[in-house]
C-alpha cells in the first residue's frame, strides 16, 4: 500500500514493513530551498573525480550559490550590490602596475579553448576561449554570440589608463560589475596567469591590436 | 566479416532508385593517433552493383570518401521483385556483398 503525501512535500511511502524511502524524506515543514538542497546533494553523489576535475569543483562559493538560487530571476538590488562588492574585493593587480602585455599572445589565448577540462593536459597553459562567446578580431569569422562583441573595445572607450584598468578588472572578475555574469572569473579562479591577463588586456586595448582596426 | 549494408531499391517510373549505406571506417591513412603514430589507411577501393547480373554501377573510391559511406543512384529499367546485388572491396582485400529486392 502506498500513501501519497500531498502539499509541498511529495513522496511515496511503502507501508509493507519496509523502511520509508529516505531519499524522499519529508520534514513536517520543508524548507523553502529543500529542493535546492536535495538537488545539490544529488549532484554531488552523481559525479566522479576525473583527473584534475575533483569533486571539490562542485562546492559552490557564495557567489555561485546565490546566482544558482536566483536562476533566471533578477537579483534584488541590495543582493546584487553585495555580490559585486565582494567580487571587486577579490581583484589583485600586478606589483609593477603594468596591466598591458602583448596582443599577439593575447590572440592565441583568446583562440585556445583548452584548459581545466579533465580531458586537458594540466601541464599545458590554459586558454581563455574568448572566441567561443565573443567577436574580437574582425578577421576571425568563427566567433560566438553568448557575450557581446568586443570588436573596437579600446577604440570605442579611448586608449586611457581607465580603459586599461577596466579591461583588467573585467577579465580578473567580471562579477565585480555584473553580479551573476556569465563571464568566467579568470583571475579569481586562477584560470589565467597574471601575464596571460596582461596579454588579453593588450588584445582589447592596444591600438595596434586587430580588435581595434 | 564487416557489418551488413542497408540497401533500399525502389522503382520510380521506368528507373530504379538505389540507396546504400555501407558500414566502413574509411580511414584515410593521414590521421595520427594519440601517440603520434599514423593510423593505417583502410578504405573501400571498388564498388560494383549488378542488376540481374548486369553491372549498373562500377566505382573506384579513395580516401576522400568519408566513414560509413552513403551512395544514392538511379539506373534505367528494373522491375519489382528483381534482385540488386552490391559488392565492395577494400584495400585489405576484405569485401562484403549484400542483396536487396526492388520494391
Amino acid at each position: 500500500m502506498r500513501t501519497r503525501i500531498v502539499g509541498r512535500c511529495v513522496a511515496s511511502i511503502a507501508v509493507i514493513g519496509i523502511a520509508v524511502s529516505v531519499v524522499y524524506g519529508c520534514a513536517s515543514a520543508p524548507a523553502k530551498n529543500d529542493v535546492g538542497e536535495r538537488a545539490e546533494a544529488m549532484m554531488k553523489s552523481s559525479f566522479k573525480a576525473h583527473g584534475q576535475a575533483t569533486l571539490a569543483r562542485l562546492d559552490q562559493d557564495e557567489t555561485q550559490r546565490v546566482c544558482s538560487e536566483y536562476a533566471e530571476r533578477a537579483l534584488p538590488p541590495a543582493t546584487a550590490e553585495r555580490i559585486e562588492k565582494a567580487n571587486l574585493d577579490t581583484i589583485r593587480y600586478p606589483a609593477d602596475g603594468n596591466l598591458v602585455g602583448d596582443w599577439k599572445s593575447g590572440e592565441k589565448i583568446a583562440q585556445s579553448g583548452q584548459g581545466f577540462q579533465y580531458s586537458d593536459d594540466p601541464k599545458k597553459p590554459a586558454g581563455a576561449n574568448c572566441y567561443a562567446c565573443h567577436q574580437l578580431s574582425p578577421k576571425e569569422l568563427s566567433y560566438g554570440t553568448i557575450g557581446p562583441s568586443l570588436y573596437r573595445f579600446g577604440k570605442d572607450r579611448g586608449y586611457t589608463d581607465e580603459t586599461r584598468r577596466y579591461a583588467w578588472q573585467k577579465i580578473y572578475n567580471a562579477e565585480a560589475f555584473a553580479a551573476c555574469s556569465n563571464l568566467p572569473r579568470f583571475g579569481y579562479h586562477h584560470i589565467l596567469t597574471e601575464q596571460q591577463i596582461r596579454d588579453v588586456v593588450a588584445l582589447l586595448v592596444d591600438p595596434a591590436s586587430p580588435v581595434n582596426q | 566479416m564487416a557489418d551488413p549494408m542497408k540497401i533500399r531499391a525502389n522503382l520510380v517510373g521506368d528507373s530504379t532508385e538505389v540507396k546504400v549505406l555501407m558500414s566502413h571506417e574509411m580511414e584515410t591513412g593521414q590521421r595520427k593517433d594519440a601517440q603520434g603514430k599514423t593510423i593505417p589507411a583502410w578504405f573501400i577501393q571498388k564498388v560494383k552493383v549488378t542488376h540481374n547480373d548486369k553491372v549498373v554501377l562500377a566505382a573506384q573510391w579513395g580516401p576522400a570518401v568519408s566513414k560509413n559511406p552513403f551512395v544514392s543512384f538511379k539506373f534505367k529499367g528494373g522491375a519489382k521483385g528483381d534482385k540488386v546485388k552490391i559488392t565492395w572491396v577494400d584495400n585489405h582485400d576484405d569485401s562484403r556483398t549484400d542483396e536487396a529486392t526492388i520494391a
Partner: protein, 272 residues
Amino acid sequence: MRTMIRLAVAAGAAAVFAASTGAALGESTADEIAKYREALQDGNPAELWEARGEEMWKAPRGPNKVSFERCDLGLGPGVVKGAYAQLPRYFPDAKRVMDLETRLVWCMVRQQGMSEADALKNTFGDGSAKRSDLEALAAYVASQSQGIRMHVALDEPHVHDMYRLGEKMFYYRGGTHDFSCATCHGDDGKRIRLQDLPNLTKVEGARKAYTTWPAYRVSQGEVRTFQWRLNDCFRQQRFPELAFGSDASIALTAYLAGRANGAEYAGPAIKR
C-alpha cells in the same frame, strides 16, 4: 538598355557579396549548416546502429541467455514502439525513475544475468574499433518512437520530483568557470563559435533539442545518446565526470524530456 542590365547585374552581385560577409554571415552560415544536415538526413549512418541494435534486442544474451524481448520499457515486456517517447518513467520493480539506458542496464543485470560492471563496460564507443552495445540499442529503441509525440508522465510523483530536481540542477553554477547549463542554454539566438545553441529555458528550445537525440555525430563517428550529451556538456563546463545513469543524469533528462512533451520525436538524427 545594356547599361541598365550591367548595373542590375552589378547590384545583384554586390547584394550577394554583402549577404555573405559581415553581419549577415551568422544567418547564412546557420542556414547552410541546416541545409547540410537536411542533405545528410538521407542515408544517416545511425541506421547502421539501429540495425545492430535491433539484432541485439532480439538475441539471447548474458549468462541467462535471455533476450531484451522480456525487457519492459514501460509499455510491456519487449514493447519498443513508442517506448522512448514516454521515458524517463518510474519503474516500481526498480523503485527508481529510469531513462532508456538505465532501464536497459537494469534488464541486462536483472534478466540477462550480467554483472553491472560488465553491463557498463562500453557505455560510449571510441569512434572506431571499440563499439558500444548500449548506443546501438538506444538507436534502435529510439527509432521506434519516430513520429510519436513525447509524453513523459510529469504528474507521476517520482517523475515530478526528478523534474523539479533537474530544473534546479540546470541552473547550478559551479566549477572553475562558474558555468551552469543556463550559461549556454539560457537565451535565444546564441551560438558558441558557430554552433547554434538551443534555449532550453524555453519549451520551444527543449522540444527542438530533446527530440533529436540520440543522433549520429559525424565528428564522433558514433551514435550519441542523451547520457553522452550530458556527460560531455559537464566535461566542457570543467565539472568532474557525470556518472553514467546517475540520479543527476536522470533528473536532468526528466526535466528536458518533460519540457519536450507534445513535440514529435524526430530521432535518431544526424549532427555535425
